[in-house]
């Protein structure tokens, strides 16, 4: 298999000199195996920090595993059957999906709009582009604490402003939908700018002449946006949607810090804003310390993310296909 993968001239055959032959063997070894070596660090890291915990979590989820206990009894799929009939788990799934939809849809639309603005000829363009990323580099914990105070029932600024326009105080933490909205605001604050920059990068890769010919044909700005920009951004939009899905369904820090005080991990007295990751934590750690049950929640969350991501991709593909036929 001395196929030349590189552009080098064929190596001189035969063992004229021992040195040359050694070099030859080395270079064959190099061609064949070094690519694997290049990618090895990634797979090694992924193995240690990705595959191993995944498999181990699966193993734990098949046991009655008290975090502190010395004995772990194998119980097969009992944790999963129990979880399937656990209303609190499904409640947290609904919360997670609710927050995901309320946060992601406006976020991506807003990001698209922002990216479109940033793509125009602006003064101090780089400054604007950097500015949209600032919320993303602030610590999540800091953002969550500030927002939790803003959305306070009695001492919060949002309710104070609402009061000025004659709206009664909203108990943001004890009202299910209100808590979803508050948490979504936090998520959007952090991630809109980030997605806008991703969209912007993709927009800049769209050839200018497409827009030029469109303007010659008399297409306005918005027509250009919907007929050129958006269709050509499709792969990027799919990427952004999948990344948002993964992040959105694993939401933890924002809702956890939004709820302060005793048992914040429950996300409110009636679990108003408890996400799946919070439910996982509640079971695996305080106050239940049931590691097996918590691990089962983790695996179901994994399955849930895969399903939602697949649905998103299918929907987006369908949308793109329809548009092509229109054109």
């Amino acid at each position: 298999m001395a196929v030349q993968l590189d552009a080098r001239p064929p190596v001189v055959p035969a063992a004229r000199h021992a040195r040359q032959s050694r070099g030859h063997r080395l270079s064959r070894f190099d061609t064949r195996y070094s690519p694997y070596l290049y990618i090895a660090p990634f797979f090694l890291l992924f193995g240690v920090f990705g595959i191993y915990p995944l498999v181990y979590t699966g193993w734990v989820s098949l046991h009655d595993w008290d975090l502190l206990g010395a004995e772990h009894t194998f119980i097969g799929f009992d944790n999963y059957t129990q979880l399937m009939g656990d209303p609190d788990f499904w409640h947290s799934v609904v919360n997670t999906l609710g927050i995901f939809v309320i946060s992601t849809v406006p976020q991506l639309l807003l990001a698209l709009w922002l990216a479109n603005l940033l793509n125009r000829q602006l003064r101090a363009r780089t400054t604007w582009r950097m500015t949209v990323l600032i919320p993303n580099v602030t610590s999540t914990a800091a953002v969550a604490i500030v927002f939790a105070v803003l959305f306070g029932r009695e001492f919060g600024m949002i309710n104070w402003l609402l009061d000025h326009v004659g709206v009664d105080a909203i108990d943001w933490k004890a009202n299910r939908v209100a808590s979803w909205v508050a948490i979504s605001t936090m998520v959007d604050w952090r991630w809109t700018g980030y997605n806008a920059l991703i969209f912007l990068a993709a927009m800049q890769a769209i050839p200018r002449d497409l827009y030029e010919s469109a303007s010659i044909d008399g297409a306005g700005r918005s027509r250009q946006f919907w007929s050129i920009t958006v269709p050509l951004l499709k792969p990027t939009i799919i990427f952004a949607v999948i990344i948002s899905t993964i992040g959105g369904l694993q939401l933890f820090t924002e809702p956890r810090l939004f709820n302060s005080g005793t048992n914040a991990i429950r996300g409110g007295p009636l679990r108003e804003s408890q996400t799946v990751t919070m439910y996982m934590f509640e079971n695996a750690f305080a106050p239940h310390y049931n590691f097996g049950y918590g691990s089962a929640v983790a695996w179901l969350l994994f399955a849930l993310i895969a399903v939602v991501a697949a649905i998103n991709v299918l929907i987006l593909r369908r949308l793109g296909g329809v548009r092509k036929e229109d054109d």
Partner: protein, 436 residues
């Protein structure tokens, strides 16, 4: 040249891979020499234990020991999962860890994680602790001592003098104590207070008050709350639980609660903004009030007797995890911190009430006054009842069950559930939590 570059790259990749493997392999190797050299002892706590001065004194007399405290001021909800993870991982815990009495039960169920203090001469110290406090630290079979007691949570009622004056109520602590011999008297006073529209609520949150009433009622009755002493869940059959629940619902129905979820950001703000007039006050709460209300409120608070009769809420223990590399030194320090002298030091610093009968009789405690609380004679108020405190037995899943019942109280307080619905929730969720 191309060959060279590629080979060069391959070498780099190889080095990187080896380095990674090396790092992974070395993950467990930070052992310190266990020789006679200087020893650093880590003490893990939550809230305020008030040990700073004691550390200084100990380090001065033990020049080879350095003490580092972690977790000061942290919430128990943040601290306990961390401690459990450290114990489960066999790594990361301090040489001494503080354990709150409600959580002690869970740790006692897995005593293999801790050093048996009875093997290290702790048996001689039995007389230094109130009997029930000593017994709480023992495993069910009585063969292992997990922790040495620090403080107990004798009960009182802290109140704002300025708000009481505004509502035309007496402000003197003895007169205030006379206002509420029982909880129904407390509610009556609350209604008078409410009628005066001071802009503040009568109490902070129903959950803390519920806990106080429950521990008091249970202590005065059978001596157990959610679990009986054979570890059966009795949340729905123990009259003490229902009685405490009903009293709390009366308080809620009278509209006396400010509904500031305890330990939340709003609760802390409400202290600062003088938004409530009374708070159920175990001894350790005085330190919390001072921290939350801040120096500006000094002299506006005072301490009266708690309605009902006595009761104990909280209190902690110091334990030495088996994973500690300096067990002998840690045990010695734990003995020092929990000695009568150590407990007096902690009381002076943060108001935690000693669990040592000698300390409770010491003039340093009996005659002590708290300047923040208008020079209230805290020694008299708390220490007087401490020796007759009636402890409440805690079952295996006490913390999880308590969480469910408290949340049910909270839903009734916020008007999300009627008291009857919330009670059904409390019982059902408590059963579910106990089974997990």
């Amino acid at each position: 040249m191309a060959t060279f570059t590629r080979r060069h790259l391959a070498a780099v990749a190889l080095v990187a891979t080896t380095a990674l493997l090396g790092t992974a392999a070395c993950g467990g190797g930070d052992d310190e020499p266990a020789a006679d050299g200087p020893v650093t002892l880590t003490v893990d706590v939550f809230g305020q234990f008030g040990y700073d001065e004691l550390y200084k004194e100990y380090m001065a007399s033990h020049p080879n020991v350095k003490i580092v405290e972690r977790g000061t001021g942290s919430n128990l909800d943040e601290y306990s999962p961390k401690l459990t993870q450290w114990l489960a991982a066999g790594k990361g815990a301090g040489d001494i860890v503080a354990i709150e009495e409600g959580l002690l039960v869970e740790y006692k169920a897995n005593p293999q994680n801790f050093v048996n203090l009875l093997d290290h001469g702790a048996a001689d110290l039995k007389g230094n602790f109130l009997d029930w406090k000593w017994n709480q630290g023992l495993t069910a079979d009585g063969k292992q001592l997990i922790g040495l007691g620090t403080d107990v949570g004798g009960m009182a009622m802290c109140y704002r003098k300025d708000l009481f004056a505004k509502a035309g109520l007496p402000t003197d602590r003895d007169a205030v104590s006379k206002l509420w011999p029982t909880w129904s008297d407390y509610i009556k006073v609350g209604e008078q207070f409410k009628a005066k529209n001071t802009g503040a609520s009568f109490l902070d949150a129903a959950t803390n008050t519920f806990n106080t009433i429950l521990l008091q009622t249970a202590g005065n009755a059978q001596g157990y709350s959610y679990y009986d002493t054979s570890n059966n869940l009795v949340v729905d059959s123990n009259p003490a639980v229902k009685q405490a629940y009903d009293t709390t619902m009366d308080i809620i129905d009278s509209g006396l609660s400010g509904k500031y979820g305890s330990w939340s950001e709003e609760w802390v703000s409400a202290f600062k903004q003088s938004k409530f007039a009374t708070i159920a006050c175990p001894a350790w709460m005085t330190g919390v009030i001072e921290g939350n209300a801040g120096p500006g409120a000094k002299g506006r608070w005072d301490i009266a007797q708690v309605p009902g009769n006595g009761g104990n809420w909280g209190g902690s223990f110091l334990a030495v995890p088996k994973q500690s590399k300096h067990q002998a030194e840690a045990i010695e320090l734990a003995k020092f911190l929990t000695s009568a002298k150590g407990q007096i030091g902690a009381f002076k610093s943060k108001g935690t009430l000693p669990s040592s009968p000698q300390a409770l009789e010491d003039p340093a405690i009996v005659d002590s006054k708290n300047p923040y609380f208008s020079d209230a004679p805290v020694g008299k108020i708390f220490a007087a009842g401490a020796k007759s405190l009636k402890p409440v037995y805690m079952g295996p899943k006490n913390q999880a069950v308590r969480t469910e019942v408290e949340n049910a109280v909270r839903t009734a307080e916020l008007g999300q559930r009627t008291p009857a619905q919330a009670w059904t929730d409390a019982v059902n969720n408590a059963k579910k939590a106990a089974a997990k």
